[in-house]
C-alpha cells in the first residue's frame, strides 16, 4: 500500500482542497462551454488558433489539478483567470450556465472563487509547515472563541468578497453611465469599448484592482500595529532606510546638491503664473476659482474663459464640418469607383 504523505491529508490540507475546488469546477464549466460550441472559437477570429483554443481550457484544468496538489494557489488563480479570458474571447455562454446576463455572473463567480482559493492559501501554508510532523500543542478554547475564530477565517473574507463584487459592479455601471456624458467622439468610442467583452473585462479588473489596493492600504497599517514584533520592525525599517539611503547617495555622487537655487526658481515661477492669471482673468475670478477648490461646486467661468471656450467650440465645429465634407466626398468617390 502506498503511503500518502501526511501533508496531503491533514486538516489544513483538506480545508485548502475544499476552498480551492470551486475554482477548478468553474474552469471545467468554462471548458465545457468552449468545447460544446466549437463554432464560437472559429467565429471569434482565432483563425488557425481555433483548435488550440478549443482544447487549451482542458490543459488548463489539468495544470490546475497539479497546482492544487502542489500547494500553489497563486498558479491556480492565474490559470482560472486565463480560462475565463479564453471563455470571454470565444463568446461562450456556458460559463454562465446559459442564463440571461451570463457574462456578469461569470465575472462574479470568478471573483468569488478567486477569493476562496486565496483564503485556502493560508491553510496550504499550514499544511506545508506541518508536513509530516505531529502537532505537539493544539488549543481549542471555548465554543464562543471557536465561532469567532471561524467567523474571521471564513465568513468575514466572504462578506468582504461579496461587498467587493457589489462595489465593482456599481462602479462599472456608473462608468458606463458617465461615458454617455462625455463629448463626442469620446462618448461613442468609450461606449463601444465598454460594449466589447475585452473592454468590460479590463475595466472590471482595473476597478477591482484599485478597490483591493485601497483596501490593502487601509488594512495593512492596522494589521501591522497588532502583529508586528520588535525584530520584524527593525528589519522593515532598515529595508526602507537602506533603499532611500542608496538612492540619495547615488544621486549625490552623480550631481551635488544645487542648494536653494531650484526652490527659489520654483517659487518665482509660481508667483509669475499667479500674476499672469490675475492680470488676464482678474483678481476676483482667480479668487473665486481658488475658493471653489474648498467647495463641492464647479467654479463659475469668467467672461474670458467663456469666450475662450466658445472660440474653441467654434473652431471644433468648423473642423468637424470640413471632416464631414471630406467623408462625403470619399463616400461618393468609392460609390463611383466600386458601385
Amino acid at each position: 500500500m502506498v503511503a500518502v504523505p501526511t501533508r496531503y491529508v491533514n486538516r489544513q490540507a483538506l480545508t485548502y482542497y475544499l476552498l480551492a475546488l470551486p475554482a477548478i469546477v468553474l474552469e471545467a464549466v468554462f471548458s465545457l462551454g468552449i468545447a460544446s460550441n466549437p463554432q464560437n472559437a472559429l467565429s471569434s477570429g482565432a483563425g488557425a488558433f481555433a483548435p488550440i483554443i478549443q482544447y487549451l481550457p482542458w490543459v488548463i484544468v489539468g495544470l490546475s489539478f497539479y497546482a492544487l496538489v502542489a500547494f500553489r494557489p497563486s498558479i491556480l488563480v492565474s490559470l482560472l483567470t486565463a480560462s475565463f479570458f479564453i471563455s470571454a474571447i470565444t463568446n461562450s455562454q456556458a460559463g454562465a450556465l446559459g442564463v440571461q446576463g451570463g457574462f456578469g455572473l461569470s465575472v462574479a463567480l470568478v471573483i468569488v472563487t478567486t477569493f476562496s482559493a486565496l483564503i485556502g492559501f493560508n491553510y496550504s501554508r499550514g499544511a506545508k509547515v506541518r508536513s509530516g510532523r505531529d502537532l505537539r500543542i493544539e488549543s481549542r478554547g471555548p465554543l464562543g472563541s471557536q465561532v469567532v475564530s471561524t467567523g474571521f477565517e471564513f465568513v468575514l473574507p466572504l462578506i468582504i468578497t461579496l461587498a467587493m463584487v457589489a462595489l465593482v459592479s456599481g462602479v462599472v455601471g456608473a462608468i458606463k453611465l458617465q461615458t454617455q456624458v462625455l463629448p463626442e467622439p469620446l462618448s461613442t468610442l468609450s461606449s463601444l469599448y465598454l460594449k466589447t467583452r475585452f473592454g468590460l473585462v479590463f475595466i472590471t479588473i482595473a476597478v477591482a484592482g484599485a478597490l483591493i489596493w485601497a483596501t490593502r492600504q487601509l488594512l495593512e497599517p492596522i494589521i501591522l500595529y497588532f502583529t508586528i514584533t520588535h525584530h520584524d520592525a527593525i528589519s522593515l525599517a532598515l529595508d526602507e532606510v537602506q533603499d532611500i539611503t542608496k538612492k540619495v547617495r547615488k544621486e549625490a555622487r552623480r550631481k551635488p546638491s544645487a542648494g536653494l537655487s531650484r526652490l527659489i526658481f520654483a517659487i518665482l515661477v509660481g508667483v509669475g503664473v499667479v500674476a499672469l492669471a490675475v492680470q488676464t482673468l482678474g483678481g476676483q475670478a482667480v479668487y473665486n476659482d481658488l475658493m471653489s477648490v474648498l467647495s463641492y461646486h464647479a467654479p463659475r467661468p469668467s467672461s474670458t474663459e467663456s469666450n475662450l471656450a466658445n472660440a474653441a467650440n467654434n473652431y471644433a465645429s468648423v473642423f468637424a464640418g470640413y471632416l464631414n465634407q471630406g467623408e462625403q466626398f470619399l463616400r461618393t468617390l468609392f460609390r463611383i469607383l466600386w458601385g
Binding site: Q178, V181, A210, E220, L224, I228, A233, A298
Partner: protein
C-alpha cells in the same frame, strides 16, 4: 527619545489628515460626476488626487507603526 516620539506622533496625525483630505477628494469626485455639474474629467482627476493622498497618508501611518514597534522594548511584545 522624547524628540523621536514627538516626530513619530506628527507622522501619525499627518497621515490621518492626508487620509481625511483624500476622502474629501473622493466625495468631490462623486459630486463633480453627478448632475448638474457632470464634469467627468474633473471628477476623474479628483479621484486620482484622492488615491495619491490615500497612498501618502497610509505610508506615513505605516512608518509610524514601524517606528513605534522599533522603539518598544523587545520584551514587551
Amino acid at each position: 527619545m522624547a524628540s523621536s516620539q514627538r516626530f513619530a506622533g506628527i507622522s501619525l496625525w499627518a497621515g490621518v489628515a492626508l487620509i481625511a483630505v483624500s476622502v474629501y477628494f473622493f466625495l468631490a469626485s462623486v459630486s463633480l460626476i453627478s448632475p448638474p455639474a457632470v464634469a467627468v474629467v474633473a471628477g476623474l482627476l479628483s479621484a486620482v488626487i484622492g488615491f495619491v493622498m490615500l497612498s501618502a497618508g497610509t505610508a506615513l501611518i505605516r512608518t509610524y507603526v514601524i517606528a513605534r514597534a522599533v522603539e518598544q522594548n523587545p520584551e514587551k511584545k
